[in-house]
């Protein structure tokens, strides 16, 4: 048996009647034997004894000490047990008998604790509510709020102010950051020659006003963050749903971010459900990955920058989140009572719906699901939820400056390198009405955004901000650049989106040609089970493959559309007019069109309306509309996993009906403009963000969107470099581009080189660059030589990074 330290020995010698000395006996004992794992930010087994309340709280299993009752105190049992596997601490010789006695006495005395004592200062806890920030005074005329805060920060940390970036660096950076496209040579020339002092600010606003280009660039960011894609796991089994159309439109119209979040958390229709619905795998999944728990994880990560993954299986060992808190969120989403599981085993209690920050209010666990989700959405976007706005502005800052104010972005529990900056930006964001574009403009018009990026020599992870940092070109930006340079963009996109917003002017030239149809069940039909939908069908034969087009649909109490047996869209609100793109859902030949619509008690014969128009690959236009030729069956099988069930054999002609006036008006108001979207093709190049990932894009870091991704890898790997060196896709594109360039007339090879430098780097070549390139090209540049110069340019660090 080991003898305790002399100090403790002295303590032991005193009569037992004397009280335990917390400061001199208990503190050293606990620190020595327990501190490494259970104080400060350490929470092994979910247990901390950093301060008295933590000690009393206990571990995930509940209290470990019963004040006044040593025999009921687990802590005592653990330090004293002979079972080596169970004993605490796990390493070393453990507590001596004397030390155990001390603890026993301490517990018996009710755990006296020095007031205010904690073993370590509590870990940083980020604030919840917005915090007013007093802006420091402007320095040297830089009175932009961001600059005032950054100047104060740099001064405080004795960091030099980075000088401004050159015009061409700034031009290229703003283009790539805000719309993801390289500036054209004309744009380069105009900008470099523009003498006005506010040209940079005007550039920012001009770029942000290019709505479609903006939307299709930021689609990549949001697809990553909301785990959305046009292909991926779960699509073949119907376990995953896209939000592409809704998302693209939200970006096109710069939907306010609070509304955006509310529509994702409490979706009104199918179009924005895909994020909160998660990915449902066929069969059994572990308790920590059910769609309900995925909901909690996704919500936490995307909107709050929190990691609830640990807390999905047990109280987190690395931060404050508890199993019940993750389950609380999950229970809001759950359709049935949700049994709490720890490490995949049920613990015997049901999760109670609750929100993570009850200071703002809470969700009513008794409310029906739709209402619970609405309440959650309101709490998430509550004006006092500063975390919501801070998380988003931090992401936007990262996009533009190369590193977050809190970094990594999904570690929002960490301390920012400037709380003032983060809070001021969050406040500004809220004050604009959660306007993302205005916030981007706010950031991009600051001087610091226009400064030269830092030269990263030392620790890339040091939590200081010396200035903007260069960012690696995303896969989509790279591919867009290649397509632009070489003219090899595809003709068709995969994303089921309209590239133009609803167009009332174009709509006014479009007639509604369909009829409202319904069905008359046979008089002798058995009483149908309530809720069985009516099924309407027709066949649509197309002479060639569709290239573009749209359909609109509305009707019933609720409706669902199936094309060729696959569920496409639907709505629980029959009066909603759905618009869907058709370039990717139909084929040449016969197409089966099926609508399931539920009759309502209130509007039994509401009628269904459908109209579609497609432009085919052979140049012709085909149309389809609901009319008397369609067929009706009283009772359709909605099938499963997104596939239509077997079609009923009982078929009759539809009945043309007079629909409710409100429905007619709704259709007349919205229908034509929505349908006209299918006609819109403004001649812009298809963007990489609108097509499915391929080898080249995967090589360049486009992620498999099975998990949420908020930051992509910053470095090019060897395998990626290999693909760039000899991959088929890039090689073919360069060959084609080079052929096109070789066919043009150039004043000299120098002119060609200058054109290429301007196109790729927004600047003319230096004499050394000109010389090297001219040497390879020779006086009569051939296509292969041009292709090689193109490649060499595309591999330049200056090209692959946004400086």
């Amino acid at each position: 048996m080991k003898f305790p330290f002399p100090l403790l020995l002295l303590g032991l010698v005193t009569p037992l009647a004397a009280a335990v000395d917390f400061n001199h006996q208990i503190v050293p004992l606990l620190r020595k034997h327990c501190g490494e794992c259970h104080t400060g930010s350490k929470l092994k087994g979910g247990f901390s004894l950093n301060d008295r309340s933590a000690l009393l709280h206990g571990s995930e299993n509940g209290p470990v000490v019963a004040p006044g009752n040593p025999e009921k105190s687990l802590l005592l049992e653990l330090v004293a047990t002979a079972d080596r596997d169970q004993r605490m601490p796990p390493k070393g010789d453990g507590l001596s008998a004397a030390e155990v006695s001390l603890l026993r006495q301490w517990i018996a005395e009710g755990l006296p604790w020095e007031a205010g004592f904690a073993f370590q200062a509590p870990a940083y806890e980020p604030p919840l509510k917005p915090r007013a920030v007093t802006l420091p005074p402007a320095v040297a005329g830089r009175d932009h709020p961001v600059d005032r805060l950054v100047d104060a920060y740099l001064a405080k940390h004795n960091l030099p102010r980075p000088p401004p970036a050159s015009d061409s660096t700034f031009l290229r950076r703003a283009h790539l950051d805000l719309i993801g496209l390289l500036p054209t040579p004309e744009e380069v020339k105009a900008f470099l020659q523009d003498p006005s002092p506010d040209k940079r600010t005007r550039l920012v606003h001009t770029l942000l006003a290019r709505d479609p280009d903006y939307a299709e660039h930021w689609l990549t960011f949001w697809n990553d963050l909301l785990r959305n894609d046009y292909g991926g796991t779960g699509f073949i089994t119907g376990g995953r749903r896209q939000i592409s159309q809704w998302l693209h439109e939200a970006l096109l119209t710069n939907k306010p971010f609070d509304q955006f979040a509310r529509e994702l958390i409490a979706p009104a229709g199918d179009e924005s459900r895909g994020f909160s619905d998660g990915i449902k795998w066929r069969g059994e999944v572990s308790a920590g990955q059910t769609v309900e728990i995925q909901f909690a994880q996704s919500l936490g990560q995307s909107f709050l920058g929190l990691n609830l993954k640990c807390a999905s299986c047990h109280d987190s060992f690395v931060d404050r989140w508890k199993l019940d808190e993750a389950y609380g969120l999950a229970a809001i989403y759950a359709e049935k009572p949700l049994e709490v599981h720890r490490c995949d085993k049920p613990v015997g209690r049901t999760a109670k719906a609750s929100w993570l920050f009850p200071e703002l209010g809470n969700v009513d666990p008794e409310a029906p699901r739709a209402e619970r989700l609405r309440q959650l959405a309101a709490l998430m976007t509550h004006p006092d939820n500063g975390r919501f706005s801070r998380t988003l502005v931090n992401r936007l800052w990262h996009r533009l400056m190369g590193r977050g104010i809190v970094h990594p972005l999904d570690a929002m529990q960490s301390e920012p390198w400037s709380a003032d900056l983060l809070d001021a930006l969050a406040n500004h964001f809220q004050q604009t009405g959660y306007d993302v574009k205005r916030t981007l403009a706010h950031l991009a018009t600051s001087q610091i955004y226009q400064a030269r990026s830092e030269v990263l020599r030392g620790d890339a992870n040091a939590p200081v901000f010396p200035g903007p940092r260069a960012k690696r070109l995303s896969a989509e930006q790279f591919v867009d650049a290649v397509w632009t340079l070489t003219g090899t963009a595809p003709q068709k996109m995969d994303a089921p989106v309209f590239r133009v917003p609803p167009d009332p002017a174009a709509g006014s030239r479009l007639a509604l040609t369909g009829q409202w149809i319904w069905g008359q069940p046979p008089a002798n039909a058995k009483a149908r089970p309530e809720g069985d939908p009516f099924l309407f069908r027709t066949e649509w034969k197309l002479a060639a493959e569709p290239v573009s087009g749209a359909a609109i649909l509305t009707g019933g109490e609720s409706y669902t559309l199936y094309l060729n047996g696959r569920k496409i869209t639907g709505s629980d609100r029959g009066e909603h007019v759905a618009a869907l793109p058709l370039h990717d859902k139909l084929k040449a030949g016969s197409n089966q069109v099926v609508i399931l619509a539920k009759p309502g008690a209130r509007s039994p014969a509401a009628g269904v309306y459908f109209q579609a128009e497609v432009r085919l690959a052979d140049g012709t236009v085909a149309t389809l509309q609901s009319d008397a030729t369609w067929q009706f069956s009283p009772g359709g099988n909605a099938g499963r996993e997104g596939r239509l069930g077997a079609l009923p054999k009982n078929v009759q002609p539809v009945v043309v009906v007079d629909p409710l006036p409100s429905r007619v008006q709704g259709l007349a108001r919205q229908g034509p403009a929505l349908l006209a979207q299918g006609r819109g093709s403004d001649g812009r190049m298809v963007r990489a963000s609108l097509v499915k990932s391929d080898f080249l894009m995967r090589s360049l870091g486009r992620p498999n969107r099975d998990q949420i991704v908020s930051m992509r890898p910053d470095e090019l790997t060897t395998l990626e470099a290999l693909d760039l060196a000899n991959g088929q896709t890039l090689t073919r594109a360069l060959e084609q581009g080079a052929a096109g360039l070789a066919a043009r007339t150039w004043a000299s090879s120098g002119a060609l080189i200058t054109y290429l430098y301007t196109r790729t780097l927004a600047r003319p070549p230096s004499p050394g660059e000109l010389r090297a390139a001219a040497e390879l090209l020779g006086p009569q540049p051939t296509a292969p030589a041009i292709a090689d110069l193109l490649w060499a340019l595309l591999m330049q660090p200056e090209f692959l990074y946004v400086h």
Partner: protein, 484 residues
């Protein structure tokens, strides 16, 4: 009863190894700038001494029927009216060079090398409630059942990450024979054919067509060596002539140039020849060339000789094709016998002749087995996916093992320190053909494979503040009896 002292308490509470190496609760744990931060654990994990330097996984994608390959049961030939309930194997058994060990007719070449083999007949898969091939494949290749909160790395990526390359010029992880575009479930396949959170540096070089492998390590088609060198030289000249060159000297630029260097080096190296099957003598090519898979085996041998760490060769998973027989099982498997038999036997013999077999672990495996009647295993709720749900046979298309069976399957291993001429475990002789002796889970099979490669089954990396282990939660235990 105090839960902590309860032997039936959830394992997480009493798991000591995890308690030892917890990451600090701060951004420091994550702040490497990499999206999914990876940090080698700080407390030392003791790696076992390696028995193998390289690993070749011969993947029978689609569910290889054990009773029709390595675990023959009672055989009944096709005849009209035969009850499906009586069918166990559709091939008779043949002797091998190991006394008392039989495998199926059609695998005569493999029968001659079973004295170099360890035949595990009791590998088992979890019952996931529904059979989705790619889910079981994901589980087999990463050790984790999807969905997962992080992107899980493939076995090959683990080896690449922990062991590094054998030859720095060669990609450590190479995947042969599987198309990842344009085939069913390709998205699900891609989900596990990845280095996951380790980052693309440890990902696979994908070579779906072995005969075209040489192309992947050559300059682009149409570009000769001279032009390729000139292009690379121009690239470097332009880097050097950049007017802001000094300001851009930083780690981003350095790492980019390093990757470009590595790629260029491979594309101009001698090691490239390993990818070129035409450099092999014709008589050797002929021994392997039963089709794409056979050619892949030859390529695997060459790549391992040139220094690859992990090579997977698959017969290719395509839903309803090849091993994934939902009808015509017997005839399809007869064809697959021909495709795999001679090449695998030749691979084993040639590795042996080159003195490489001892230190190369060769594995034949599949995501589960098949049965004539049972889907999943007894008690499973899995949907019956056989094309013909008949009770008696009336045509040849009905004759075969057309349902997925997860209760017991065969894994064959050669080399890498495994026993020679040894059978481990067994399955029942009557339906259900469950593993009834020495069942080995995927987790323990992985622990065995990793142990052979010199990687502790408890090896972990910290990702998003969570320790992530090479075997599920670090619980994998190697099956010692499989090693000599």
């Amino acid at each position: 009863m105090y839960p902590l002292l309860d032997p039936h308490a959830p394992p997480a509470i009493v798991r000591r190894d995890f308690l030892k190496q917890l990451a600090a609760a701060s951004a420091a744990a994550w702040s490497t700038g990499v999206p999914q931060a990876v940090r080698a654990n700080s407390a030392p994990v003791v790696h076992p001494p390696a028995k193998a330097e390289a690993c070749i996984l011969l993947w029978m994608g689609g569910g290889m029927a054990a009773p029709d390959t390595f675990d023959p049961k009672r055989y009944l030939p096709f005849e009209k009216g035969l009850e499906v309930a009586r069918m166990l194997s559709t091939f008779p058994a043949i002797d091998t060079v190991v006394d008392g060990v039989k495998i199926c007719q059609g695998l005569e070449h493999l029968a001659q090398v079973m004295d170099r083999a360890t035949l595990l007949r009791s590998a088992v898969q979890p019952d996931l409630g529904s059979i989705l091939h790619s889910r079981h494949q994901y589980h087999w290749h990463t050790g984790y059942v999807p969905p997962q909160t992080v992107a899980c790395p493939h076995l090959g990526a683990w080896m690449a990450k922990v062991l590094g390359p054998r030859n720095p010029v060669m990609p450590p992880f190479i995947n042969i024979g599987q198309r990842l575009e344009g085939v069913g479930e390709s998205e699900e396949l891609k989900a596990f054919t990845t280095a996951g959170f380790f980052g693309a540096e440890f990902g696979p070089l994908n070579l779906p067509f072995p005969e075209e492998a040489a192309v992947s390590v050559r300059p682009p088609p149409g570009m000769d060596a001279g032009r390729f060198a000139n292009r690379d030289r121009l690239f470097r000249q332009l880097v050097d002539a950049n007017p802001d060159r000094d300001r851009m000297s930083d780690y981003q630029r350095q790492s980019l140039l390093r990757s470009m260097d590595n790629a260029y080096r491979l594309l101009s190296s001698k090691e490239r020849e390993a990818f070129d099957l035409t450099l092999e003598p014709p008589e050797v090519q002929a021994r392997y060339d039963t089709g794409r898979f056979g050619r892949g085996c030859l390529l695997a041998r060459r790549l391992v000789e040139a220094g690859a760490r992990f090579v997977e060769v698959t017969t290719e998973y395509v839903p309803f094709l090849h091993w994934d027989t939902h009808k015509d099982g017997h005839e399809t498997v007869a064809r697959l016998h021909r495709e795999i038999d001679r090449p695998i036997a030749t691979l084993v013999r040639e590795l042996e002749a080159r003195g490489l077999l001892e230190r190369t672990l060769v594995i034949i495996a599949s995501e589960f087995s098949r049965d004539a009647m049972m889907e999943g295993r007894p008690g499973s709720t899995a949907n019956d996916q056989a094309t013909f749900k008949v009770d008696t046979l009336s045509e040849m298309a009905h004759y075969g093992l057309h349902r997925h069976f997860t209760g017991g399957t065969s894994v064959v291993m050669f080399g890498g320190g495994t026993k020679r001429g040894y059978v481990h475990g067994r399955t029942a002789d009557e339906r259900p053909l469950l593993a009834i002796q020495d069942p080995v889970t995927v987790m323990d099979l992985h622990a065995t494979i990793m142990t052979a490669m010199g990687i502790s089954p408890k090896t972990e990396f910290s990702v998003e503040g969570r320790p992530f282990y090479v075997t599920e939660d670090g619980k994998g235990r190697p099956v010692r009896e499989l090693f000599a």
